[in-house]
């Protein structure tokens, strides 16, 4: 008798979600098997990489190694975003509205939104607008962004239980995608999607952000929760969790101690750039295997590494 490998039985599939418009719009999801298990089901769309752009000069918040590839554009978000797309092949731009942070620059919402609009108009790839996780400020900013960028099919993040009604309504009104963000818990992720559904947000307008850590900083736990979400969606037929996932990786990896230490500070950890790039790439690949669909990365070298990994896995 011929050898018959055991096959996983699937009862659900991840739904397709599209962000952006036109030729460069990106569709993710549609997967009816575990990540890259194309011998068991369909994986019509590869996971995609978004490159991180800040709406202000990150200054001391970024290690030199992270700033180096962007040194001519830091502080000019439009030029920065264009550089990511034109030179580094970003398929999506993830614009972090750090200047809005009420505990730091606290720039007025109107000014923040105006810069977002400039960036959105300057690139043809989809844009994820990532706020500062302050319910009040994000609501103010995202309402303006949603209105001023109407028709661009942006993804707005993070949408949490505390501001889901405000930002969710703005997304519905101007046809954007909601990034539903919960603190690394499968039950809470489900609950927020239920609440968004009750509000009237369409199922194909939701991405899940499970709020994940970095290598050495909660990566394993993040993996487990993402795996649990994937399993619920695919093998338990849990309709409420059958949405693509997005991971805000760059910001988590590059704020770790090890990613920022210079060769003098930590000679035993090797070349600072290689070290941090590998930390970012390893975290990204780990989350790909757990079911991620969009990875937000910072360094062009990690982007290159992870892209080649995805190509090989999809081949």
């Amino acid at each position: 008798m011929a050898f018959e490998p055991t096959k996983q039985k699937y009862t659900g599939a991840i739904r397709e979600v599209t962000i952006g418009t036109g030729d460069k719009a990106v569709t993710v999801g549609g997967r009816s098997c575990f990540p890259f298990y194309t011998f068991e089901g369909e994986m019509p769309h590869p996971p995609r990489i978004a490159m991180e752009v800040w709406d202000k000069d990150p200054g001391d918040d970024w290690p030199e190694t992270a700033k180096e590839p962007f040194k001519d554009v830091l502080g000019d978000p439009v030029a920065w975003a264009k550089k990511c797309v034109d030179e580094y092949g970003a398929e999506i731009v993830a614009l972090q509205t750090r200047s809005a942070d009420p505990n730091a620059d606290d720039k007025p919402a109107e000014e923040v939104a105006a810069v977002v609009k400039k960036v959105v108009d300057a690139v043809d790839v989809p844009v994820i607008v990532w706020g500062v996780a302050s319910h009040e400020k994000d609501t103010e900013v995202m309402r303006l962004v949603a209105e001023q960028c109407s028709g661009k099919n942006l993804a707005l993040a993070p949408v949490e239980e505390g501001d889901h009604k405000q930002i969710g309504a703005a997304c519905m009104g101007y046809d954007h995608v909601v990034v539903a963000s919960t603190p690394i818990d499968v039950n809470l992720a489900k609950q927020l999607n239920v609440l968004l559904g009750n509000l009237g947000v369409k199922e194909d307008k939701i991405l899940i952000d499970p709020t994940t850590g970095a290598l050495g900083y909660g990566m394993e736990y993040s993996y487990s929760v993402m795996e649990r979400i994937t399993q619920a969606a695919l093998t338990q037929g849990d309709d409420k969790l059958a949405n693509p996932m997005v991971n805000n990786i760059g910001i988590e990896v590059w704020k770790t101690k090890e990613a920022g230490q210079t060769a003098e500070e930590a000679p035993e950890l090797g070349d600072p750039k290689t070290r941090a790039v590998l930390m970012e790439a390893i975290t990204a690949i780990c989350f790909l295997l757990a079911g991620s669909d969009i990875l937000i990365l910072r360094h062009p070298d990690s982007v290159k590494l992870v892209k080649s990994y995805i190509e090989k896995m999809m081949a």
Binding site: V194, D238, K240
Partner: protein, 293 residues
């Protein structure tokens, strides 16, 4: 099933205050309510209670026994307070709640159980903390039961507690505690069992906690659980414990056995029991809105 009323608890706003202020009247009112609700034991949870534990327990047990005849479950990690409670306990057989399966706890408390002829809750919490699966539960259970019976404590005095976890954080641990329960009679013949039931709904919306507790009780009951530590004000739950809701029990069993269920033919209450059984048993993933889905 025997019921142990959990409400006299140091973390309760009302009764915690009464304990701190030695307000006998408030505590006695609760004791009377517990007796009227049909509780078989009154749990006296005074917390770790530090250096006041001994004095507090010596005061509390007679205060309760002034108004009711029910035995008390002495619920504290404070060994001196347990002994003080055992000394003061004159009505029926006292219960020690609990003895963990850790050498230092067993060495200190098992001799007290023997000396005062008390019952005790054998909490399956080992030197490394919470058991990871049913097999580790089995090993811990065998260890404490062996130690106790070797000292001459009769098995029926031992109430093994396989540890209830909340459905919204550790649903898989509910399954392993249940798997343990199915082996329990073979591992520890003649022993009793109990469970801190309300923990299943810890963190769930307050108004939805009773149905989680009720369905969980049905499942435990089916697998031979002898007693449970429960909310003394949840009369629906007590009715289930007394076997007065056989139709709901049968329905939950059907869910557990994977039988097809025609939801349209059910009442709202029955549908809610089916949905709740499904989240507890992991057929569907818990979320706070599970009854609306």
């Amino acid at each position: 099933m025997k019921l142990i009323g959990e409400n006299l608890n140091i973390v309760s706003k009302k009764y915690g205050k009464a304990l701190k202020e030695r307000d006998a009247k408030t505590l006695q009112e609760l004791a009377i309510q517990q007796a009227e609700a049909g509780m078989d034991y009154i749990d006296l949870n005074i917390g770790p209670a530090g250096k006041y534990g001994e004095e507090l327990m010596s005061w509390l047990v007679p205060v309760i026994h002034e108004v009711v005849d029910l035995p008390c479950a002495l619920d504290t990690s404070n060994i001196k307070a347990i002994e003080a409670g055992l000394k003061a306990h004159k009505k029926g057989r006292a219960m020690i709640n609990s003895i963990m399966v850790r050498p230092e706890r067993m060495d200190a408390l098992l001799p007290l159980a023997k000396e005062y002829d008390a019952e005790f809750v054998a909490l399956l919490w080992g030197p490394e903390g919470m058991p990871r699966d049913e097999n580790e539960r089995g090993a811990l259970c065998a260890e404490i039961v062996y130690k106790a019976t070797e000292m001459g404590i009769p098995p029926e005095r031992i109430y093994v507690d396989p540890i209830q976890t909340p459905v919204n954080v550790q649903q898989n641990q509910i399954m392993s505690a249940l798997a343990f329960m199915k082996m329990f009679n073979d591992i520890a013949p003649g022993c009793n069992s109990t469970i801190g039931l309300s923990n299943v709904s810890n963190g769930a919306p307050e108004h939805l906690r009773p149905i989680l507790n009720q369905v969980m009780l049905i499942i435990w009951k089916r697998w031979g659980m002898k007693s449970a530590i429960v909310d003394c004000f949840d009369t629906e739950l007590h009715a289930i414990a007394r076997g007065e809701r056989p139709e709901l029990e049968a329905l939950v069993h059907k869910v557990e056995d994977g039988e097809p269920i025609d939801m349209d033919s059910l009442t709202k209450e029955e549908r809610d029991f089916v949905k709740t059984a499904r989240v507890i048993l992991g057929h569907t993933l818990y979320s706070d809105s599970w009854l609306e889905l």
